[in-house]
């Protein structure tokens, strides 16, 4: 169980690092695409960030509710 969590942590951390590396190192290439057509993709990125923020909130609420449901089930 402990090992499993460690692997999970490592994977998620490395994904974040990869994103960060992608943004900082390949700036001229990847961001040039985002700058095309009058920087419209900057707006798209902003909308995507808001979307993911709300989705993450929903996931967390979902998890909390599942825990509560299990608690009720165990008590019955």
């Amino acid at each position: 169980m402990n090992n499993h969590l460690k692997i999970k942590k490592f994977v998620s951390l490395s994904i974040i690092m990869m994103f960060w590396w992608g943004i900082t190192s390949a700036q001229s290439d990847s961001l040039d695409f985002l700058r095309s057509t009058g920087k419209i993709y900057a707006v798209v990125t902003v909308i995507v960030v808001i979307f993911f923020g709300i989705v993450i909130f929903l996931f967390r609420l979902d998890n909390k509710l599942t825990k509560l449901e299990n608690q009720i089930k165990n008590e019955q």
């Binding site: 920087k39 419209i40 909130f57 509560l68 608690q71």
Partner: protein, 351 residues
């Protein structure tokens, strides 16, 4: 489920959908993205190549262009050749006479046609004066800027550097406004808890504050993305950014505070008083201090407040609905949290 309690949720979602569709599909007005060359000497004839954005250089017929020195001094271009819709070359003969003897004179380029309306590129050309340049009006007064066209239809303003990202007003800026409204709701319930001692007020206050913090974090992230494309960095030392980050840290401590104590009564009292403190700290941090010093944000440090070209009536058409929609959706999310907390409380009381 009846429609009665549902209308504002559907309303919020629909208004946000309208903002999303309208905000992304309405075009921006025409503008100039680049001009070449940027320097000239007085008395010479120059050809400026212009790159436009959303322009109709080829299909429009009546092109006019000016180099403007100030309110009354301008010269008209002698020739306008369109390469394609977005590229054109303009010929100007820079006079050997200038109204003032400043060594370097910045000139603003104005282009006008019947399809795009008039649009400007500030400081498009810097003219260095020759030794032989005389002081006088010369041809400067004769080219009057008159009968400028206006582009038709609903279009968002074109701003240099901002370009299409002016649409972020509906998302990034509206997110902060909605956050503030949600924090007011949280503050109200915190005060009501301290007055009445009802536990329900405490969890209402916490739900609103939590969604407001989510909006605040998203506001910082979206602002960071926007800054990368306009200020060319994810984070600047701008006061508004740093002060808002401090305000968000104060609110993050609120979350820690709520998580730290298991005694309901104590937690409720502490977090209600703390959220009042956090709100009172937020106002000077976000609204007062940035106005006292230099800031890149509009409405701060001598910059004009949101208005004029930064927030004209076409932007307002979507900006205000976006605030309303995000507040409604935020309230919806807050009620979901609230219902969860109420359920948890019920189970806790039973056991």
């Amino acid at each position: 489920m009846s429609i009665k309690g549902l209308w504002w949720k559907i309303g919020g979602a629909l208004i946000f959908l309208v903002v999303l569709i309208g905000g992304m599909t309405i075009p921006t007005r025409s503008g100039v993205t680049a001009t070449q060359p940027s320097n000239a000497k007085s008395g010479e004839s120059i050809i400026i190549s212009v790159v436009g954005y959303n322009t109709h250089f080829k299909s429009a017929q009546n092109h006019r262009a000016w180099l403007k020195l100030d309110l009354i001094h301008a010269i008209k271009s002698s020739q306008f050749i369109a390469k394609n819709e977005n590229e054109a070359t303009l010929t100007f003969s820079v006079p050997d006479q200038f109204p003032s003897d400043d060594q370097v004179q910045p000139l603003t380029l104005i282009i006008d046609n019947e399809m795009d309306g008039a649009f400007v590129q500030p400081n498009a050309l810097f003219v260095t004066l020759n030794d032989s340049t005389r002081i006088g009006n010369g041809p400067w007064l004769s080219a009057a800027l008159s009968n400028l066209n206006k582009s038709e239809g609903i279009k968002f303003p074109y701003r240099n550097i901002l370009n299409e990202t002016i649409r972020n007003t509906f998302f990034h800026v509206a997110l902060w406004f909605a956050m503030f409204l949600l924090l007011i709701a949280g503050l109200y319930h915190a005060v009501m808890y301290l007055r009445t001692g009802l536990y329900d007020h405490d969890i209402q206050s916490a739900s609103f504050n939590k969604i407001a913090i989510l909006y605040g974090v998203l506001g910082l992230l979206t602002g960071s993305v926007w800054a990368k494309f306009t200020w060319n960095t994810f984070w600047t030392t701008d006061v508004k950014l740093n002060m808002t980050a401090i305000a968000m840290l104060i609110y993050l401590a609120y979350l820690v505070l709520r998580g730290s104590s298991s005694d309901h009564d104590r937690r409720a009292k502490l977090s209600a008083s703390y959220s009042i403190f956090a709100f009172l700290a937020l106002i000077p941090l976000v609204f007062v201090i940035p106005r006292l010093t230099d800031s890149l944000h509009p409405g701060n440090g001598g910059n004009p407040a949101l208005g004029g070209e930064d927030l004209d009536h076409t932007l307002r058409m979507f900006f205000y609905p976006s605030i309303i929609a995000l507040t409604m959706l935020g309230t919806w999310m807050a009620t979901l949290l609230l219902r969860y907390e109420r359920l948890k409380e019920k189970i806790f009381l039973k056991s």
